[in-house]
């Protein structure tokens, strides 16, 4: 029995795939961004929506993988697969190290610690100039060569590439959250003490969730580097982490498809609103507040409630 949500999500992906060839370059660009950022939002959902751990430093893992790709492609001309594995592995490793510090805390402390850790990565991006080129950023990241008949330098093939990655991430994460491990995470979100009493290793569950979330954020970061052709400290700044949090909340925490939808909405909203007004930050802020006031379970959460 495939849940309706999954069918809807597949339908949306298929629709995007069908419509894409008819779109001009700019909207296609926005859709590609949305696909990549959707992966980032879904990764945070594992941590936030399913385990109940609000992280304000998630952009760190995203950025580290992006930098890995940036450095490896421009300095060592590495192939796509190598870069992909390296980026994800580095992100996961960082999450493994940071997780040891962060999981010691819970709730508000966790929030603040993840923010501080995110800032450490930001500082590193600036300071380690020999590696990251500091504030200048790393330019000239080429599109991957996959030996396909279509060049990924063109917007349409790259869109399909990003879409495939997003669907793949969604599938894997979907299996994860439906597994006994995923169920355990949701139990921890509801009540840690109860899960402990039931004999679960709560610390290990949270820690693994943290690392997995970091790994998938890294997955998104790899595609982001290829998409922009450029990596800079702006990719690991606080604003990025904060926006990802909003995407999860807007779309619906704990649903996976919700954050993907939230990411798409925010990408389009940001670019749409800033064309018409300089006050788009104000509007974004109002959206944050509106979401909490009117749709605390996000768009998907609200839709789900209406159908029951």
């Amino acid at each position: 029995m495939i849940p309706r949500r999954v069918l809807a999500g597949l339908g949306a992906a298929a629709l995007a795939g069908l419509v894409a060839p008819a779109l001009s370059a700019y909207p296609l660009t926005l859709l590609t961004q949305a696909a990549i950022i959707a992966i980032l939002a879904m990764s945070l959902d594992v941590l936030l929506g399913y385990t109940g751990l609000p992280s304000l430093g998630h952009a760190a893992y995203f950025g580290i993988a992006a930098y890995a790709v940036g450095i490896l492609t421009t300095e060592y001309q590495c192939a796509f697969l190598t870069c992909l594995v390296s980026g994800v592995a580095l992100a996961a490793l960082t999450a493994a190290v940071f997780g040891l510090l962060a999981i010691r805390a819970s709730g508000t402390y966790f929030l603040m610690i993840t923010l501080a850790l995110g800032m450490v990565v930001w500082g590193l991006a600036f300071r380690w100039v020999s590696m990251t080129k500091g504030d200048n950023g790393i330019a000239g990241v080429p599109r991957p060569e996959l030996g396909l008949p279509w060049s990924l330098s063109a917007p349409l093939p790259f869109f399909y590439f990003a879409l495939a990655a997003a669907v793949a991430a969604w599938a894997v994460l979907g299996l994860l959250v439906r597994s006994p491990f995923g169920m355990g995470l949701q139990g921890i979100r509801e009540s840690e003490s109860r899960m402990r009493a039931l004999g679960y290793n709560v610390w290990l569950h949270k820690y693994l969730a943290f690392v997995i979330a970091g790994a998938f954020a890294g997955f998104a970061g790899v595609f982001w580097a290829y998409y922009n052709g450029f990596v800079s400290p702006a990719d690991v700044q606080l604003v990025t982490s904060v926006e990802t949090l909003l995407m999860v909340a807007l779309g619906g925490p704990g649903t996976l498809a919700g954050p993907a939808l939230g990411a798409t909405i925010i990408v389009f909203l940001k670019n749409f609103v800033s064309v018409y007004t300089k006050r788009w930050l104000l509007i974004l802020g109002a959206v944050y507040i509106g979401v909490i006031l009117f749709a605390p379970r996000g768009v998907l959460g609200a839709l789900r409630r209406r159908s029951t």
């Binding site: 936030l48 609000p54 304000l56 510090l101 010691r104 805390a105 819970s106 709730g107 508000t108 402390y109 929030l111 603040m112 610690i113 923010l115 501080a116 850790l117 800032m119 450490v120 500082g123 590193l124 600036f126 300071r127 606080l238 604003v239 904060v242 949090l245 909003l246 909340a249 925490p253 006050r279 930050l281 104000l282 974004l284 802020g285 109002a286 959206v287 944050y288 507040i289 979401v291 909490i292 006031l293 605390p296």
Partner: protein, 286 residues
């Protein structure tokens, strides 16, 4: 020469810590009583600075700027708490998003009202200049910050420790349900503490205006400092905020002076250390 370096740096670290105390004590107290993490706290600091700037431009009075900025933001804080945050007790994600939303709105409003140029708060003559003691130079304004923060710290301590209101606050921090049960009006206490926290942050903003300046982006730049102090000192604890701010001020200052290559990370070293030893901070409670 060496003695001069250590004395000057200690003084600098302490005065910087004093400013951090004003910023972070409010955050800590608010959390203690209401379990609310307020990500608009940096915005209170910023708005305090901007409003203080406007007051001093119009009236030329520094004390009026201090009071005006702090009081105005306290009102904003009360508004936020009563109308928006009250319903979000214990919902960490909801609080985070709501307060970030407000932070963005405040940031853009500040840009709209005061423009994007950076400003320095004009200081009264009595607080400008330098006090020279032999070879040592102590900027008068930093001395003022130290003195004021110490005064406020002492006043807060006494209030919490000796007065009825203070007892009510401490009871609410310890156990809000029980406090409600013995007749303490916890919602009113909460609102009062929130207002106080906002007041302190904004006061810090006005004072900081004469020293760090007031500029777009200050809100999110100063927020990690507040967080680090609170992590080190422990949420909900006034002594924690005091010790935390002094520690962070000194470690950050000496760190940058002695290990300039690690300047980006000196803020987080004390935090990492505390986390390794005591995850809830020096004086914190879960």
């Amino acid at each position: 020469m060496r003695a001069e370096f250590w004395i000057t740096q200690t003084f600098n670290g302490l005065s910087y810590g004093a400013l951090l105390f004003l910023l972070a004590s409010g955050l800590s107290l608010i959390f203690g009583v209401m379990r609310i993490v307020n990500l608009a706290h940096g915005s209170y600091f910023l708005l305090g600075g901007y409003i203080g700037l406007s007051v001093i431009w119009r009236t030329g009075s520094f004390p009026l700027a201090l009071l005006g900025g702090a009081a105005a933001v306290a009102l904003i804080g009360i508004g936020m708490e009563r109308l928006f945050l009250r319903r979000l007790a214990n919902q960490t994600l909801g609080q985070v998003l709501m307060t970030i939303g407000f932070a963005l709105i405040f940031q853009d409003l500040a840009l709209l009202i005061w423009g994007g140029d950076p400003y320095s708060l004009p200081l009264p003559a009595a607080l400008s200049g330098v006090l020279t003691v032999g070879e040592l130079r102590f900027p008068r304004y930093r001395l003022f910050i130290l003195a004021l923060a110490a005064l406020i710290g002492a006043a807060l301590w006494l209030a919490l420790d000796r007065t009825r209101v203070g007892a009510m606050i401490r009871a609410a921090v310890d156990d809000a349900e029980m406090a409600q049960g013995v007749g303490i009006r916890v919602p009113t206490v909460s609102m009062g503490v929130f207002a106080l926290g906002a007041f302190l942050a904004a006061l810090g903003g006005v004072i900081g205006g004469g020293f760090l300046g007031v500029y777009p982006g200050l809100d999110f730049e100063i927020l990690p400092y507040a967080f680090v102090v609170v992590i080190v000192g422990g949420l909900g604890s006034l002594p924690g905020a005091m010790v935390g701010s002094v520690l962070v001020g000194l470690l950050d200052n000496f760190g940058k002076a002695l290990f300039p290559e690690l300047a980006y990370f000196t803020l987080f070293a004390p935090m990492a250390l505390i986390l390794a030893l005591r995850p809830t901070g020096l004086f914190g409670r879960t």
